[in-house]
């Protein structure tokens, strides 16, 4: 679960990291009122989860409340990289002396959290890693010991910073690590971490990702703010199905994430374009299959359907029953290819054949067949 900037800042605030003062607005009027309350120049920031909002015009400086209102009006009508802007954050503009970068994330290779710090913040860290890797300081945290003072000192000495910054910066390292563990984060990032002209240390932006498998009770109800997703994605989440919307025309249903990815690849290899990823998981019954079909068929871009089931715990007869029931209930009007093998295969095939559906022999044949049928509309 990725958090919006204003949510991330709320978590930072709770662990004692100062953030630039501000409030969220959903209408231009609200934006104007907030700007008036804050007083002085403000920044109007689109709350989206995709990167690059600044370049897209989603972040604007306003000198007056009226200007804040005008900016908010424009930004609230924007879509940034396909994500609709529903909220803007109005923060008091600050005069920045210097910008830093600080994050903690999980290094999969090292199987430990990794701290990344740079005395040059405000820019894309991946970019900086490419152009000036020497400007990035990285070190791991042993999960059984936690972040230690010597590690922070070593990093800060290495960065050759003004000695009077050591204490405040070091405190921010520890508070960020507290946020990382307390909120079960995959990522906590402050970019930029700013030292203002008047000597304050502020998190000017916040990027936080929380483990979906471990959302702390403190954040109950926050999930509603999840990434603006398609209606199909929301329906799938409610049905507890793994679904990802893609931009093609061939709907895909399979069991097991690896097998479904492999199915998408085969369709693409045959020149088709998958409309989605949908994993019904292990041991799905007829009802789950029905739900899955409903979600895929509700996508108006779907021109064909490929179902690829390798029955292990999942039983082929259950899948077949769900498929036949859905066909009778909703009618499946697009070309459909079914591959069904494994546990209770004979029974599953019999059910399908009774209803005029002949399963293909293998997933390779199935992928070729659905692409052929969709391109000829048969």
């Amino acid at each position: 679960m990725r958090l919006q900037e204003y949510q991330g800042k709320e978590l930072f605030r709770r662990v004692g990291i100062s953030v630039s003062e501000g409030q969220i607005a959903t209408t231009p009027q609200e934006a104007e009122e907030i700007a008036r309350t804050l007083g002085g120049a403000v920044v109007v920031k689109a709350q989206v989860l995709v990167g690059g909002r600044g370049k897209a015009g989603g972040v604007k400086l306003a000198q007056t409340p009226a200007e804040a209102r005008a900016h908010a009006e424009k930004i609230l009508q924007m879509s940034i990289k396909g994500e609709r802007v529903r909220k803007v954050l109005i923060t008091r503009a600050v005069e920045i002396e210097r910008e830093f970068y600080l994050s903690i994330t999980i290094d999969r290779s090292a199987k430990q959290p990794v701290v990344i710090f740079s005395a040059e913040g405000g820019i894309e860290i991946e970019e900086l890693a490419k152009t000036h890797p020497e400007k990035i300081i990285k070190f791991h945290i042993h999960p059984l010991v936690g972040l230690q003072g010597y590690q922070v000192r070593t990093a800060l000495f290495q960065a050759k910073l003004d000695p009077k910054w050591m204490t405040p910066l070091s405190e921010i390292f520890f508070k960020l690590y507290e946020a990382f563990t307390r909120y079960r984060a995959h990522l906590v990032e402050i970019n930029p971490l700013a030292l203002t002209r008047d000597g304050r240390w502020l998190a000017v932006d916040a990027k936080v990702m929380i483990d979906d498998d471990d959302v702390p009770s403190e954040l109950a109800g926050w999930e509603a703010e999840e990434l603006a997703s398609s209606s199909e994605e929301r329906a799938a989440r409610e049905a507890d199905l793994q679904y990802v919307k893609l931009d093609g025309s061939i709907g895909i249903i399979g069991n097991g994430a690896g097998l479904v990815m492999s199915t998408l690849d085969l369709v693409a290899l045959n020149g088709g374009r998958p409309a989605n990823f949908l994993d019904i998981g292990g041991g799905a019954n007829a009802e789950v299959m029905k739900q899955a079909l409903k979600i895929v068929l509700s996508d108006s871009q779907v021109r064909g359907l490929f179902i690829n089931i390798f029955g292990g715990i999942t039983r082929c007869d259950e899948v077949a029953r769900g498929l036949v029931a859905t066909q009778q209930e909703l009618g499946i009007r697009v070309p459909m290819v079914v591959r069904l093998t494994g546990t209770n295969e004979i029974e599953g095939r019999r059910i399908l054949q009774e209803h005029g559906i002949t399963p293909v022999a293998g997933m390779e044949e199935g992928a070729a067949e659905i692409v052929r049928r969709v391109s000829h509309n048969i």
Binding site: R108, D214, G258, A268
Partner: protein, 295 residues
């Protein structure tokens, strides 16, 4: 020979009386796995399908020599179950459970390492030495004894590939599902090293997917340490960045973790990468026959 498990491996089931644990205990017994004991806290002293149940792993150890344990307990308690098994120094721990919090796994990984035991998973289908022993949830009927070692991050996709190999009359020495989470106990490299030493294994199939850089590191390792032929398959060429494709670990973040990068890394070391499961069979056939002519 097989790796990690064989006919005489004594297996413990943690969570044996749960619905998942119970169902798969039956399937494992049918396969011929020597399940000597089960653990469910509070159900000690009872018998499940002929298997004695204990309250703790230590208690089970007092009555049985245990070589391996398989964990079916719910995600919330799974880390605790792994730690219990590691603390009791069970040499092989296989964790099937999905959705274990990653912050739990960070600690578990280190503790397991400290204890010097081996963890397979979590979020994995387990492992099978066809005809000898099965620990986990892999289907009983699709595997065949033979010369190919399979190591995979996926479940069903592994079944697909093993099934196609078996139908082509190419059997397997051991099939190991290492799991689809960002942090798993054993990686490709750990299992590849075991296959290299195993005399039954004549060729290795590596099944990877998007996310992380394990395949890239495996490519380096194979070039350095593995003399047996390796065939690779990677799932997720058509996956978009930033979207989690089912498995927690299957996500392209930034430029890291794409299928293209993985295929390139493998191919640059001379490891053929199949584009379809069927091609895995063809490439494996070729690898086995080339090897035969070389000897």
């Amino acid at each position: 020979m097989s790796i990690l498990i064989n006919r005489s491996t004594n297996v413990l089931v943690q969570g044996i009386t749960g619905s998942e644990g119970g169902f798969h205990t039956k399937r494992m017994l049918e396969y011929g796995t020597k399940i000597v004991a089960g653990v469910t806290p509070g159900k000690g002293g009872t018998i499940f399908d002929g298997v004695p149940v204990y309250n703790t792993v230590r208690e089970a150890q007092q009555h049985h020599a245990i070589d391996a344990t398989v964990i079916f307990v719910p995600a919330k308690f799974a880390a605790d179950a792994i730690l219990e098994a590691a603390d009791a120094e069970v040499p092989l721990i296989v964790c099937i459970t999905e959705h274990i919090p990653v912050h739990h796994m960070l600690k578990v990984y280190q503790f397991v390492k400290l204890k010097g035991v081996r963890l397979i998973g979590p979020n994995c289908p387990g492992l099978i030495a066809p005809g000898k022993c099965k620990i986990g949830i892999l289907p009983n009927h699709i595997f065949k004894p033979g010369p190919v070692g399979i190591v995979s991050r996926s479940g069903t996709l592994t079944y697909e590939i093993a099934d196609q190999l078996s139908r082509a009359n190419i059997g397997q020495s051991t099939v190991v599902g290492i799991g689809g989470d960002p942090i798993v106990g054993s990686g490709f490299i750990d299992i590849l090293a075991l296959f290299q030493k195993d005399r039954q294994t004549k060729a290795i199939v590596l099944v990877g997917e998007i996310g992380g850089t394990d395949e890239e590191r495996a490519a380096e390792f194979i070039a350095r340490e593995i003399t047996k032929p390796v065939v690779a398959y990677i799932a997720g060429f058509s996956a978009p960045p930033g979207k989690r494709m089912g498995h927690a670990g299957a996500i392209i973040s930034g430029s890291e973790g794409t299928a293209d990068a993985k295929a390139k890394a493998l191919e640059s070391k001379g490891i053929p990468v199949a584009r379809t499961p069927r091609e895995v069979v063809e490439l494996t056939k070729k690898a086995l026959s080339q090897r035969a002519t070389r000897i």
